[in-house]
Symmetry: C2
């Protein structure tokens, strides 16, 4: 099969594609592909038949070898529903020496077939691809420890609509209050100043906020405690790594017999049960943390809380949590508004 477009000839044989730039052929000439040596020798002679440019003898039917091209395959990639394609370097390995040619051929093919976004997921071990991709118009999109994702938007007549990668980090702090109305507080090992904090830390990728709160409290203080309610959250920008940061405050109830404290030596310098009154008046407590604890006491007094339920996305079939106010007996809203009665479970 000889595949042609405005820029190049592409000869496809079995799983192999040869690309040849149209601009490098005279219009009077005929392209001949001698694939007799393929695939054993991994190369194909391309001959031009027509003018012998040295002798100026038209129609001399001289055939001379014009070039020998390597004939490695082009990248396939995985197509997505946005008409994009993703190549994973671990799925389609390629030598550094042949990568530039195969990339160029693949880009030509994708341009001609209307592909929009081209993604290369380059494993750390294949990082010699990175400078070649950069030279071919790719930019970085995101990275994980073991790979970097690069992207190139092909359409020249359409604005790139690829969303930016995540830029928000999520952390959690826990208000753990026992039956004696003491709350669990920690002092961190690596601190800039003395400070009694709420135990907590970063939510791990894929982890629920409530589970992260329970895990961090257990890790830092050895106290097992269960989710009671969400209290509030703080949103700040240009934080760690220049990211935005959401810090959720969650109230937990300790399980019975969890009074003995054992701190995490790696992170924590001291851990204590402290009375609410002492905490709210302690000179080494931030005003923000004081606010969080006061808010929690307000919620307790009102009987209103911010909680969550589990559900599944109706189309994508992914499980998720929805956090909202549980107004309890305070709001007969459906009756007041004549809304058809439906369970909150969607």
């Amino acid at each position: 099969m000889l595949y042609m477009n405005t820029r190049s000839f592409v000869f496809v044989s079995r799983r192999t594609i040869l690309r040849w730039s149209r601009s490098r052929l005279d219009s009077e000439c005929t392209l001949e592909l001698d694939a007799s040596s393929y695939p054993s020798q991994k190369s194909v002679c391309i001959r031009k038949r027509g003018f012998n440019t040295n002798q100026r003898q038209p129609n001399s039917r001289t055939t001379r070898t014009f070039a020998t091209m390597s004939c490695d395959k082009l990248f396939n990639g995985n197509k997505d529903r946005f008409n994009g394609v993703t190549v994973d370097s671990t799925q389609e390995p390629c030598d550094t020496s042949t990568f530039p040619d195969i990339l160029k051929g693949s880009l030509d093919k994708w341009r001609d077939t209307g592909i929009r976004g081209v993604w290369f997921k380059v494993a750390l071990a294949d990082s010699t691809w990175v400078p070649v991709l950069a030279q071919n118009g790719f930019r970085f999109h995101h990275a994980q420890p073991s790979y970097v994702m690069m992207v190139c938007w092909l359409p020249s007549n359409e604005v790139c609509n690829i969303p930016q990668y995540a830029s928000t980090m999520v952390g959690v702090g826990a208000i753990v209050m026992n039956e004696r109305r003491q709350i669990l507080v920690v002092s961190e090992k690596y601190k800039l100043f003395p400070h009694w904090k709420l135990p907590g830390g970063y939510v791990e990728p894929g982890e629920e906020i409530v589970n992260a709160a329970e895990r961090e409290v257990l890790e830092e203080t050895s106290v097992r405690a269960k989710f009671k309610q969400m209290v509030c959250f703080r949103h700040v920008h240009n934080f760690t790594f220049g990211c935005s940061d959401m810090y959720f405050i969650v109230a937990l109830t300790p399980e019975p017999g969890q009074e003995v404290l054992k701190k995490c030596d790696r992170e924590i310098d001291a851990v204590e049960w402290m009375t609410v009154e002492e905490y709210l008046n302690h000179p080494h407590v931030h005003s923000t943390n004081r606010f969080f604890v006061k808010k929690f006491l307000e919620y307790e007094a009102s009987g209103i809380s911010l909680s969550y339920f589990e559900d599944t996305h109706p189309i994508l079939k992914k499980p998720y949590l929805v956090y909202s106010l549980d107004l309890g007996p305070h709001t007969p809203a459906e009756k007041q508004n004549n809304i058809p009665s439906q369970s909150n479970k969607l």
Copy 2:
């Protein structure tokens, strides 16, 4: 100055450092550095004095040239408070040919001076550095369109405690209800199925959720509307780019005279004011969106809402928003709990 450690000799002259592996010298020999040609020639001869290994004549005092090393400077980088160092390729340019030697010398220096995390911020134009860094134990940490950040944890006796980069994307949907109790709904251009959605989209890096809601409504429908309250949020994992996703629902009040709708042609197929009753019973409305609107109506009826205030971090002096319940007259919590009276403004 001759600087020594267990692995190498490092000769420091002005801003230039020569590194020489101890393992490549015989213990009987003496290292001589002839820096007479430096800095004009950018290279220094290193001579070994001692045994002439060919002639086996001990103490012959033969001096022969052992090697000629290039003597480019090492990287300085910027130190951080965690005893890490960050090199920015745009701040300390380096040729591809000399990068491997300078990197190795710099890593030796940093190991010997107790540096923990070494970061390289590599601009797209300098991406030939990437494979060299990968070969020297660096892994990817994160990337933005114009750079990739690579990191190497040097201490062998301490667990790496570098936090992962952001993995949460934040979006917003808006419930905009006018005085006739109609809500603003849109149908997207690129949809998998017919669906009346709430207008909205991704929160931009550094943007506040409430501002994103107002911006997206204006962009998609041409309606100017102002924040009224937060309703709830959905948290789902393994979503776009494998990230977690938080989708906040915010209620907005349209400004007077904002009844005329003009859709964003690039993204939106149709936009309408639809009565609440029709929306809640429409077959092309997700159960989740129905829940969001019902929740909003509950909040309206109860007089309780989830809102925010602005403040500044007491230590880092960064502005932030805190989102919490505004219990209004429902909760005289401070009096009930005998908490010292303090303003909620921290």
